[in-house]
Symmetry: none
Subunit: 224 residues, 4 copies
DNA sequence: GATGAATGAGCGTTCATTCAT
DNA sequence: TATGAATGAACGCTCATTCAT
């Protein structure tokens, strides 16, 4: 294949520019994330972000359409990140249940502990901002929910089809659980030291919940 | 001498005024709740509330310190309401588990279906507004969590004492589930028609989770 | 002479009412004066005055036309009071100069030390409020100035007529001096303990100033 | 290699911007001063200032923190201006008394006649606005007073040390005179045409006052 | 006479966004 | 690309005044 010479002066400059632009974008995004978490989205002024990032306000607007866009891109990054972490964790494990629990453990230990700011953006700062932000937030949770749904479908095997709502509700319940446990112990309190116990208990709870649902499905099948 | 109670007229007038004042307060609160839910807290202007309540802006400020105060009082009312509903539901039932499930069912069927606006205020409109609002929101969830904690303590009997964090995490997990299931099926989607099934599945999941946690506690006890 | 019986029940009641009304008026006025001095006229709300006077806002408006009226009546009281004090002091003394100095001394020792609030109202709180208030303030100073003028006219005897502006300017200068010395040592600083020395020095200064002006007038007369 | 100073263009632009910014600031300040004098500080809206300066409200807030800041900066300018005028006038003259009178004459003829708006701001519009404004006003008068104090110290020579309060009170008295004479004949009345006579008489009065105080100090010294 | 809830025009301030340089 | 001064619609809140009871 014949790729255009990547080292022509023009291209080199272009590449460097590209790289610099991305750097700047990342810097702005990181600054915005920090300020949104520290002072809240509505209390963070574009001016503040520019100042902290050591650039002019106009420059922020060169890289992002507007303030909402900043938040939306942040949310996209977060969504990408969380799927990466959970997806990777889900690869390892022999049984479906094991894979599921690996993912659950990764949620707490890699995502929540590794990126607490992401948690804050997703669970606090992006709530009730705009119809579009709310839609994006919902999309992220829907995807999260569907990932969980896919994972527990393996566990529940054939039973899920009889009534799709059952597995759905279960997924939503699990997501809600993960969410608030994280919010409670990382945002409201800081019990990051006890995260191991907390994770274990939460997963134990989920395991039992899943078994219970499964048992019910089997019972209904036998009846029907 | 037979003097008619000299302050009766005054008191009667004062009482009527008192009553009328409370009515006004309630009207304003109801209007605010509706508008906060419809357009969001930040998008609702004090002017709008006044207009919808058919009074002057100043009147709103006569009854409430400021916009935040309006939200805080709304939250207090909601907290009172939810505790009433759950507390009453918890009275009925023979076994601890039955009482617990009655309360869970009441959460969905009485609180969520009966006062969807309360749900929206608590889970969406009061998020990330102010430090004080956030504190109030946390207090409400803490009390909710503690009620759940008290309820499952009956179920778990003596086991809870060995490691208090276990029951705590379990309570938080249960609250999180209830929350997001409600948010998902009443705010994001409107599946109020399927609420019966949803409730049943959610409670089934929780029941199983509780059993699982309980089983673990027993196992540890036997080991220790 | 045949005055209507002053002790008829109706009249007695009317008198008592009259007395009570005046009492209330005085109470309100005193409260207003205190609050104006403590927090400034613009920062004092009618509500505050009512509250401190332990009556309803409406009652304040029954006794006074509006907030400005409150200030105006206060200023009238002050004007009356100051003229009383100075007029009385001016009675005593053999020579015109002695009488003049008695009045000057009374200004500091009776008016300023006895009614510091009056000083504050007149020199700080009534400045730059309204055209009408400013006019009243000016009227008070004009009268004060004219009193001084009359007093020094006795001292200057026949010389004042040749150029009326001379005695005028002198009066204004004296008034300005008294004013700021009082403001400096009673409002900005509290040197009420040193008031005796301050008074003595100020009067000595005035005496010298007057002599100087007088000497000039005589000189001009001899030239002319 | 011969690189053109790379930050020269940037600096030039920056300098121009700086200059333009200062121009804007001065324009706003001048407009504010005019409006404050014409309609009074409290009656002047930020909107008015913006409109008269032909800019947007936001622009005023870009250059000044708030309305109070506008007044404070105006006061600083005035303080600078008055010290300049008096300081310069004080340079000329052979005897201390001559220098002192030159400064006094400059106060009336250069400061008051040349900048009547400054007088109004200082003596009327900045009174009773805020604690901070009052403090600034006091600071200006204190410095004025101290300048006068320094000037008369030369005249009084060694006598002032015996009792510092004497010279202090004298300074305050002189400042008060200058003030009210200016206020009376330039703000309340417009006798700017007679300013020459007024100045002469006022200074004559002060001269006499100073001599009198001096004579007293000598008398006490001889006694002691 | 007294009450106090109601009024609503008015004002200071904010801040996301733009655009000439 | 970057800058930062300029914009102006928008909003929360105040408070002197009124008036039905």
């Amino acid at each position: 294949m014949n790729r255009a010479a990547p080292d022509r002066p023009h291209t080199i400059t272009a590449l460097r520019r590209q790289r610099e632009k991305e750097n700047r974008t990342r810097t702005i995004l990181a600054t915005a994330e920090r300020l949104f978490c520290e002072h809240g989205y509505p209390n963070t002024k574009m001016q503040d972000i520019a100042q902290e990032a050591e650039i002019a306000v106009g420059t922020v607007y060169f890289h992002f359409r507007n303030k909402e866009d900043l938040l939306l891109q942040l949310m996209d990054d977060i969504a990408f990140n969380i799927r990466n972490i959970l997806g990777e964790a889900f690869q390892n494990g022999k049984t479906p249940m094991e894979r599921f629990e690996n993912a659950g453990r990764a949620f707490f230990e890699k995502f929540c502990l590794g990126h607490p700011a992401h948690l804050i953006i997703l669970l606090r700062e992006s709530v009730g901002i705009t119809a579009e932000v709310e839609a994006r937030r919902r999309a992220i949770f829907d995807r999260f929910k569907e990932d969980v749904h896919a994972a527990i479908s393996e566990v529940m095997a054939e039973y899920v089809l009889s009534n799709p709502l059952v597995a759905e509700v279960t997924s939503v319940a699990i997501v809600g659980m993960l969410e608030r446990v994280a919010y409670q112990y990382l945002i409201w309190q800081d019990r990051s030291g006890d995260m191991d116990t907390i994770t274990t208990e939460a997963l134990s709870f989920i395991r039992g919940g899943l078994r219970s649902v499964l048992r019910n499905l089997r019972a209904r099948e036998n009846e029907g």
